[in-house]
């Protein structure tokens, strides 16, 4: 299936988490932190650490490792606190 990441079309394997879709595409970070602007991506992989926050279909601060991808998802990387 297809999804977009910051406007770019990528292939997504159905059943995978958003984090896995991004990881499979070669991305290792998809947000920056509030204070230092440091890049973050997957860390715990199981919903504990909140490092993997991402904006999906306009909703910010979702844990990419917990959410299963859907056809046509519009995924956006995040800066700082994230914006709706």
């Amino acid at each position: 299936m297809k999804v977009t990441v910051d406007g770019r079309d990528i292939d997504a394997e159905p059943g995978r988490s958003i984090a896995a879709v991004l990881h499979a595409d070669g991305l290792r970070s998809w947000r920056t932190t509030r204070v230092e602007g440091s890049p973050r991506g997957l860390f715990c992989g199981i919903g504990v650490c909140f490092d993997c926050l991402v904006t999906i279909n306009g909703r910010p601060n979702l844990r990419a490792c917990l959410i299963t991808v859907r056809e046509g998802d519009v995924i956006e990387t995040q800066e700082g606190v994230g914006r709706a």
């Binding site: 995978r16 509030r34 715990c44 490792c65």
Partner: protein
């Protein structure tokens, strides 16, 4: 009227065993779990998974078969548990469009499991650095390797299946660095024939792929511009202080770190269950021989009692299910629990976390990832009078972020020299609207 006689929280080996045993004894059972598939972290799997690469998969199939008599509610995160008659569990259901669900049950079995324990070091916040369990979840749950060339560092037998998992996923493993020198490690494994076979299988796989397995060494720093490019590995002394002059650089694009596991106890603490120090330095639920906690009508099972692996979790889960149902458990279960507990204690003793890791920290090393609090700020908070986790949090914000100290709780407590005690009134992030309008529809699984 409660929705069910028993609510089991967590559908890993312990929760599945508890739910199955209680349902067979005639209780109405609700099984709540945040994931979309049963199995927990141990039996994390994909759709159509044939079980190859999973240990004790046949046990899983048997337990999952027992779900027929159970109201299994996947995708349900319990964010608050109120004790009472009945107990009330506030949940959020659904993967992305969360809705509030309330479950009332006369009895509860807590089988909430554990998550990886990580230790901070310079560069551990670089993308590409993951927990060992996270790397394992990426392979088991998503079929993906954490990277092309992966280093594994930490302590404990769990590093071995992570390494073989990465090999199966197609990664190269550049090295496994075990901080302890478990010369006695073969002893506990030898107490249990199944584990000895399992361990031998891992050793064989590592040898076949020429993966270096080095003890008394650890990754003490990670490097890269925006993502991981290499790590520094150093030899450690007995206390885990790096031995000067032994550092070497290993290139890699992923690093998996694992220093044991921390039980997830926030629901237990909310219910008022007493907790105590576990054998490996993390808090565990206090429970009696029948798996009963200090709160009436609440039992505990699995890794919430201390990390002991799937076989022990299944035994304590089944025992908790029997206790909740008031049925007499088979003697074989009690014997299995006793044997597996001895084994777990031996493993905890052979793979401790030693304090010398604090020497890996520099002043600018991030300790709390969420609030970006560095070691220097934590030291200043201690100089300003912080004596426990709470005062450190107030003075430097360590542990105040979204993860509520789940990741930094153990290392911050260790730097302070106090026990790591979880206290989170809200176990999951909740939207204000769901706090303001708790669900009144109750029992929507009916």
């Amino acid at each position: 009227m409660p929705d069910a006689d028993l609510a089991v929280i967590g559908a890993g080996p312990a929760g599945l065993a508890a739910a199955g045993a209680a349902a067979r004894a005639g209780l109405t059972v609700v099984l709540l779990d945040p994931a979309e598939r049963p199995g927990g972290q141990f039996y994390r799997h994909r759709d159509g998974d044939d079980g190859r690469g999973h240990h004790h998969w046949r046990d899983y199939l048997r337990l999952a078969g027992d779900l027929e008599g159970v109201h299994y509610l996947p995708g349900h995160r319990v964010w608050h548990a109120e004790p009472g008659e009945p107990h009330v569990l506030h949940c959020l259901a659904g993967n992305r469009d969360e809705r509030p669900v309330t479950v009332r049950a006369a009895k509860i079995v807590l089988a909430t499991g554990a998550h990886d324990r990580a230790l901070p070091f310079p560069g551990w916040d670089l993308p590409g650095v993951m927990t060992a369990g996270g790397a394992q979840a990426l392979w088991k749950g998503q079929g993906l390797p954490a990277g092309r060339r992966v280093v594994i560092s930490g302590t404990g037998p769990f590093l071995l299946p992570v390494a073989t998992g990465l090999l199966k996923a197609g990664a190269r493993v550049a090295g496994v660095y075990e901080a302890n020198r478990p010369s006695a490690a073969l002893l506990p494994l030898a107490l249990d024939p199944a584990r000895a076979v399992e361990g031998a299988g891992y050793a064989l796989a590592l040898a076949r792929h020429r993966v270096p397995y080095r003890t008394g060494r650890a990754v003490i720093a990670a490097h890269g511009e925006g993502r991981l490019e290499s790590v520094t590995v150093a030899r450690l002394d007995r206390d885990w202080q790096p031995v000067p002059g032994t550092e070497k650089i290993v290139t890699c694009d992923a690093l998996a770190i694992g220093y044991g596991f921390t039980p997830q106890l926030e629901l237990a603490v909310q219910l008022g269950c007493a907790v105590e120090d576990g054998p490996d330095g993390s808090a565990v639920i206090t429970a009696d021989a029948a798996q009963a906690t200090t709160v009436p009508g609440v039992w505990a099972a699995g890794e919430t009692l201390g990390v002991g692996g799937a076989v022990l979790a299944m035994a304590t889960g089944a025992l908790a299910g029997h206790a909740a149902a008031g049925t007499t458990p088979p003697g074989a279960l009690l014997r299995r629990r006793a044997r597996q507990r001895r084994l777990a204690a031996a493993i905890a003793a052979a793979w401790p976390v030693r304090d010398g890791w604090r020497e890996w920290l520099r002043d600018d090393t991030v300790v709390c990832r969420c609030e970006e609090v560095d070691h220097g700020a934590l030291k200043r908070a201690i100089a300003d009078g912080a004596r426990d986790v709470r005062s450190a949090k107030l003075l430097c914000r360590a542990g105040m972020g979204l993860c509520q100290g789940r990741v930094c709780g153990f290392p911050v407590a260790r730097v302070l020299g106090v026990p790591d005690r979880p206290n989170r009134p809200v176990a999951q992030p909740v939207r204000l609207r769901d706090l303001a309008y708790p669900d009144t529809s109750r029992g929507e699984h009916r």
